[in-house]
């Protein structure tokens, strides 16, 4: 599981770029307004100070004139006071400083008596006014100065100053008035300008803020919409996804979001916040629960590699215990998969995916079953083909008859209601069927019968057997029925080809060739080395009916010789024989109508004791009865159905399989059969018959 990347800073910046730009602009506007206000306020303050000074010049010009007139009056009355002159001196000095300050800059005292520095006035009108004032003032101060000097002024000087004052004082006043008005106008203008600048600045800032707010709201709505859309999609997914999905917290609880199908998949109530492992506890055996707990802990730890432990998931295929009882015909399988969820480097959750895999498991099982069944059937068919056709056919017919009898017993149970004895009867028949299958080495039927026996013996041990208990039997019966029918049709189809070859063997040469190829085929299957020598020149002259029967007998005897008479190469070498066994088949004309057919192999021979053992084993004879037979009688028993010595020697070898068929044909031919044998040396069958009846 890949960890989710945190949103990148650049994209975050991009998303809000316009808003950040707007905020920047807002700050710039505000600063600009602030700076403008500061400077203009400064100027306005300067101008206001100048305005005040200009006003004072007005007043000073009047005071200068007045004190001159007072001094003139006092002079006349010879009462010129030092105070008047001092006042004149102060007023004129103040006027002069201010006038100079206005025109070229310099220190001055403001109206409150504070020192201040004046800059030369910038405006042309003001400079012009100042010049006019200066024109009047320079001669004026020249006349006033002597009045305020250390030497007491004369009446003459006072009178000159007073005369000048009378002529020009009002002009200066007028000019000062104009200057004041000019300053006033300037201040007004600047104040207006400042107001406008402030209003514009504030309006711009307001517009900016409005933009920012709108943009933010839009962004918020966009992201709200996106979140809501994601949430909706997510809810849809969680509501409809068929898999159970949720994040498992480190504390073992189910995370807040869980797909709706999870409880259904699990077959258990589950909700966010519940402890996952305790839910699991109800579903799995204790041992698996422990393993699951450990496995989850392993994934939460950061030591193991996730990809290298996935195969250990103990919950990858869970068979659910059926909680509903009879409602669940077939058990369900679920798979729980865990994937790490990382935030950064830390494993914070496990994503748990729960899937119903019943169908998958069932299909896998079905394929396995079908394969097994097919294998069983092929094996069954091969086993049957090992037998000669007549024997296999009879086995299958017998089997079907047994099954019919079993079915009849079942049907009859409805009337008798003696279920224990019905089961016993069926058991006996199945057991016999199993025995026959074993004798013929037919593993499939042996297995089928064995399975059937297991069920039957379980029923037999049941105390109160009733009709209901029988329900288990028909499906088994049917299974064996259908397999038998299938094998029968397959075997018939295969052996009909065999029969065709055999049927077409009409001449002696063909007959010989057919027997040689049969021996070759069978010996290859048996992994033995066999050579067949035939001397059957008169076969072609036999009547059709006798020839057919002799063919069947010959096939049987040659097959028997290969399978049961000839030993394998090793065994032969141990008995000081050649590796390759030989079978001699001869047909001799004894006289005009009589023939002798002989099949002789140089194999292990027939051992009477083995026949005795097998008679007892077959259950057909008691030990005492078997012991009573002499050797000749024992050998004759080989021609009875179902007797084989195979089990006493080894799986393949043994006399008697299918010899009852030979005996039947011999009887039908009106022939005589003789068996000659010496242990470890040979077995020879001689059949003497008449060509025409």
């Amino acid at each position: 599981m890949k960890s989710t990347e945190p949103p990148k800073t650049s994209s975050w910046m991009g998303k809000y770029r316009s808003i950040i730009f707007a905020i920047g602009l807002f700050i710039i506007f505000d600063l600009a307004v602030l700076v403008a206000t500061f400077f203009m306020s400064q100027q306005i303050a300067d101008d206001t100070a100048a305005l005040n000074l200009a006003g004072r010049q007005r007043m000073l010009s009047q005071r200068i004139a007045k004190t001159i007139y007072v001094a003139e009056t006092e002079q006349v009355s010879s009462q010129l006071s030092a105070g008047t002159l001092k006042e004149l001196k102060n007023a004129s000095a103040q006027f002069d400083t201010t006038q100079r300050g206005f025109s070229v800059g310099g220190a001055a005292t403001d109206t409150a008596g504070q020192d201040l520095k004046l800059k030369p006035l910038g405006g042309a009108t003001q400079q012009d006014l100042l010049k006019q004032i200066a024109t009047l003032w320079v001669p004026y101060i020249a006349l006033v100065d002597p009045l305020t000097g250390p030497i007491a002024p004369t009446a003459e000087t006072i009178r000159k100053a007073a005369d000048y004052s009378r002529t020009n004082s009002n002009k200066i006043l007028d000019l000062a008035n104009q200057l004041t008005a000019q300053f006033e106008a300037d201040v007004k203008e600047k104040t207006n300008l400042l107001r406008i600048a402030q209003v514009v600045g504030i309006l711009l800032a307001l517009a900016n803020i409005a933009y920012i707010i709108l943009a933010l709201i839009r962004k918020l709505r966009e992201s709200d919409d996106l979140i809501e859309q994601r949430h909706r999609e997510y809810t849809h997914i969680m509501a409809t996804v068929r898999e159970g999905l949720f994040l498992l917290n480190k504390d073992g609880t189910i995370g807040s979001q869980m797909s709706a199908s999870f409880p259904a998949v699990l077959g258990q109530p589950a909700a966010p916040g519940m402890d996952f492992l305790s839910i699991l506890k109800r579903l799995v055996p204790e041992k698996d629960h422990e393993a699951a707990t450990e496995y989850i802990a392993l994934l939460f730890g950061d030591r193991v590699k996730e990809s290298l432990v996935a195969s250990l998931n103990p919950l990858s295929q869970l068979e659910l215990r059926s909680t509903e009882g009879a409602d669940d015909m077939v058990s369900r399988f679920i798979s729980l998969q865990f994937s790490r969820v990382k935030t950064g480097k830390e494993i914070t959750h496990l994503l748990v995916t729960a899937q119903d895999i019943s169908e998958r498991v069932r299909l896998t099982q079905a394929v396995k079953d079908a394969e097994l069944r097919a294998q069983e059937e092929i094996k069954g068919l091969l086993d049957l083909l090992e037998l000669e056709p007549a024997v296999s056919k009879r086995f299958l017919v017998d089997t079907e008859q047994s099954l019919d009898a079993i079915n009849e017993a079942l049907r009859g149970a409805g009337q008798t209601r003696d279920y224990p004895s019905t089961i016993s009867e069926i058991f006996r028949r199945v057991h016999k069927l199993k025995g026959e299958a074993t004798v013929h080495n037919l593993t499939l039927f042996e297995t089928l019968a064995h399975r059937f026996e297991t069920i039957l013996s379980e029923l037999r041990d049941r105390p109160n057997l009733n009709g209901d208990d029988l329900l288990v039997i028909p499906p088994h019966l049917e299974d064996i029925y259908s397999r038998t029918a299938k094998l029968r049709s397959l075997a018939e189809r295969m052996s009909s080809k065999d029969a065709h070859i055999v049927q077409s063997a009409a001449s002696g040469h063909e007959f010989g060739y057919m027997l040689e190829s049969l021996a070759e085929k069978v010996s290859a299957n048996q992994k033995k080395k066999v050579r067949v020598l035939t001397d059957v020149p008169d076969f072609g002259s036999l009547p059709e009916a006798k020839a057919t029967m002799l063919r069947d007998i010959a096939i049987q005897l040659v097959r028997n010789a290969v399978v049961h008479g000839i030993e394998d190469a090793n065994e032969r070498v141990m008995s000081s024989k050649t590796e390759t066994g030989s079978i001699h088949v001869t047909l001799k004309r004894l006289d005009a109508n009589k023939f002798e057919f002989a099949v002789r192999d140089d194999g292990r021979g027939v051992i009477p004791e083995h026949i005795r053992e097998s008679l007892v084993k077959s259950g057909r004879y008691s030990r005492a009865e078997a012991d009573a037979f002499d050797e000749r009688a024992l050998v004759m028993k080989l021609f009875e159905p179902g007797i084989s010595t195979s089990a006493t020697i080894d799986n393949d070898a043994g006399r008697g399989v299918g010899l009852d068929v030979v005996a039947e044909k011999v009887k039908a031919m009106g022939a005589k059969i003789r068996l000659g044998t010496r242990p470890n040396l040979f077995t020879q069958f001689n059949i003497i018959f008449a060509a025409a009846a």
């Binding site: 393993a291 392993l298 030591r303 193991v304 990809s307 290298l308 432990v309 195969s311 250990l312 103990p314």
Partner: protein, 107 residues
Amino acid sequence: MRIVLAGKLPGAQIVGLARDGAQAVMMFKAHQPDAVTMDLTMPNMDGIRCIEEIMAINSDVPILVISALADKATAIAALRKGARGFLNKPFTEKQLVAALKEVISDE
């Protein structure tokens, strides 16, 4: 397995091949290898104890546990003791090489 590794993991060198758990711990002490692969069923000392002892010597060494899937619980226990990964028997050359690379890798 020795041959497979020599061919498929350039730069890898097999420093020891232990017959049983006790020998594995001894060889581990002697060679201090970069990685260990271990079958859980060993004579003399079981895999779990062997991992415990190796972890006691060097808890950083990556161990790849190899076992049949039949006993998941034991394999999980081995991983809980400190092994890094698990490979189930039987495996192909390719799977072994991939698993070893994964177990050695840091991420």
